[in-house]
Symmetry: D2
Subunit: 253 residues, 4 copies
Amino acid sequence: MIDLNCDLGESYGAFKVGNDHEVLKYISSANIACGYHAGDHNVMFETVRLAKNHGVRIGAHPGFPDLAGFGRREMKCTPREIYHFIVYQIGALAAVCKACDTELSHVKPHGALYNMAAKDVEIAAAIAQAVADFDSSLVLYGLAGSELVRAGREKGLLTAEEVFADRTYQPDGTLTPRSDKNSMIHDPALAISRAIRMVEEGCVEDVNGMDMVIKADTICVHGDEPQALEFVGRLRNAFAKEKISIRKSWRNE
Amino acid sequence: MIDLNCDLGESYGAFKVGNDHEVLKYISSANIACGYHAGDHNVMFETVRLAKNHGVRIGAHPGFPDLAGFGRREMKCTPREIYHFIVYQIGALAAVCKACDTELSHVKPHGALYNMAAKDVEIAAAIAQAVADFDSSLVLYGLAGSELVRAGREKGLLTAEEVFADRTYQPDGTLTPRSDKNSMIHDPALAISRAIRMVEEGCVEDVNGMDMVIKADTICVHGDEPQALEFVGRLRNAFAKEKISIRKSWRNE
Amino acid sequence: MIDLNCDLGESYGAFKVGNDHEVLKYISSANIACGYHAGDHNVMFETVRLAKNHGVRIGAHPGFPDLAGFGRREMKCTPREIYHFIVYQIGALAAVCKACDTELSHVKPHGALYNMAAKDVEIAAAIAQAVADFDSSLVLYGLAGSELVRAGREKGLLTAEEVFADRTYQPDGTLTPRSDKNSMIHDPALAISRAIRMVEEGCVEDVNGMDMVIKADTICVHGDEPQALEFVGRLRNAFAKEKISIRKSWRNE
Amino acid sequence: MIDLNCDLGESYGAFKVGNDHEVLKYISSANIACGYHAGDHNVMFETVRLAKNHGVRIGAHPGFPDLAGFGRREMKCTPREIYHFIVYQIGALAAVCKACDTELSHVKPHGALYNMAAKDVEIAAAIAQAVADFDSSLVLYGLAGSELVRAGREKGLLTAEEVFADRTYQPDGTLTPRSDKNSMIHDPALAISRAIRMVEEGCVEDVNGMDMVIKADTICVHGDEPQALEFVGRLRNAFAKEKISIRKSWRNE
């Protein structure tokens, strides 16, 4: 069983990003930007309604308060401040859900915050605490094997370990930085077979060709370009053939 | 019975505004800025904790997305967009309250939005609908006799009609614009006697010297300057002498 | 002789807008956003360098401080504040030009500010004064026959009267609002013949079918979509056939 | 001969900071915020006019694009982006000066950027290059003995080495971080005698009690609190007694 998640609602005012309508046909969870790095209040409403109509689970995708940097730049914020703005952003999106008569399901930090939370114990703890204090029934998404997943478990949250089909892994389980040559897997067939292996065997080859253990609760996909969309379609077909079903709920299964 | 409310939490980052610690001793309701015109996420947490510790009711004080203008400039936003950002801002502050183990009690629009909602039926309806859709148990504050109060009632909300002790009224019940010479009442004794009359008799003299009917559920006070603070103290003493009690709750009374 | 201008540099951080590389092949003047409604400092440098490499004149395209609204929403700003932020934005872009070893040529207000300056005498005067005070050799672009052009002339500025090939005109010379059905001319051939007539005869048919006088110093084109680009190419070809030459300079001709 | 500089124009919209009117009586150079970390376009005009009226030299005080953090938080920006936004900010303030019929004299980076530029060779070079490319006659202010001063000299700029009377120094010439207990000198008499020694002898005692060489071209003072203002007055009197004159110009003296 696997969850397919995608970052959505990343437009801002007249600035249009992504292809949300299309990718929603393929995914089971949408991570929606909350106004700090992308996604203004109008975009949030539109995206929540769209996800609801597609029967896709809705998650908050909070990021650094950095619109110009799209939340991709590291900012020196105290764990306390991170706790504050995670609560703020989740609360804002949860309110949009409430007004649209639907519910928030999960939280996945965005961009630089996601990467920092994977390694930094204090930031991971701040984020997990924020989620727990707002609503302890929310599922916390984090890089598989990361500090964020650990922190979530410690706070008693349900966690979803996230894997990437199109990225390579270092021996310590971290993603190879995008700046490295071999960070991306460009061959769709290889990416798909790796994804299947991660789900079925809990295992993936690292950059040195050694097998490493990895837990794949959810897989991150993209939908902003035609090629990306096509890949998601192929991935879903491959999962179907392997009888890997798409997760219908994080509970009672 | 009367409620004393004050706008709080209007600092932003290193920019410090007001004297929140002091005025909280005198008031029964705090309207807390939600990050759009003032009050970042750090300030919101600090102010919610402070209000909670003083046993003061907490309200959201949403405004236009205009930090540079402090929400005091009219912006041409559609009622739909206003609905969206009211939900966003209330949700963010409600989340802060939840994380601080306390509750949101009311909503009062800020600045230009407050003034526009007093007269514009569509904006009033958008705001009232946003409050009702987020949490229909919240009390909606608006200018006494305004469209906003009317809209709130239509949506089934409890409303609080707000009066001003230090401002003069036009015959139609609107406040005399600040740009007019006679907009302010500078004599504290006169302001206090007018406040008492509004509460006890439901009546106030307009700029032409004619009595007009006014409902005074809550009175707006300021605490940013020593004189303002002193006035609030005198007002409370005057209410005490008149046996006008400070409202303990908006319900079951 | 005619100038072809286009709004460029409207990306912001990770938010990509337009097709600047392509349209620069067809135009003689680029209006570059200055960071308030679009176009951050990185985008400004990139766009100035691009325009310089294409030998296209560079203009400042200042707008309201409203990134979320892309400068398309009316804001209630005093003429004094408008004067201030026009100077700020022109200065910022002029500095980018200086650092790129090129020069600023003109100023064209953006969006809601452009429309307001066409009709409002005080706003028009504030903008013209800002341009004159910063550099009186800059050319001021405004809607043909507008208050802005008039104000520019009064301040002693060279002005460029702007016309639109794909829009219809009201009898008073204003553009038919986009919200009206007949605001746009969708037939490229008709748009081109109107453009030619405006340039050659100084004349255009209004919505009522009556001829009105119009001065066409510069024509506004778009390049953000394939169709728009194609139209610009056809327009240039049509001008070439009519021996209407593209303006090489605003001076000594 | 010494220059007394102070950071001014740090208000933003309704957020009022500092006591600019008062401190301008005592200083010879004002560093004016440029809209990124503080100081909107209205404040910039007001402050430039005020400085001009007091005959005080005007400098640009560019900072990180971080209003919420007041430019005091480190941001991971490339040297290229720093170059871009330094040009942008200097250009904007230079334009304000031009419109006010006065001139820009110097540039001093603000907050976290100032501290990073003191140590980071690439950031220092980016800032110095930005200043040189915009106007090579501008004086570059930096921490005495810092990489920024070195970079400025390499680019052929006139530099001003800045010292602090109320801060202690590490043996390597850096300021003791504010988080350390002994970072501040609270005794005004001691601060004044250290300032005089730095100017007259080019020498100051470090935290270990050892003398170190220091060049004091300009001294940073504050004016935001009554005590700070009083200290500046005493410092000027002490300089006068010692026949240390206040620098009238950075040139031909």
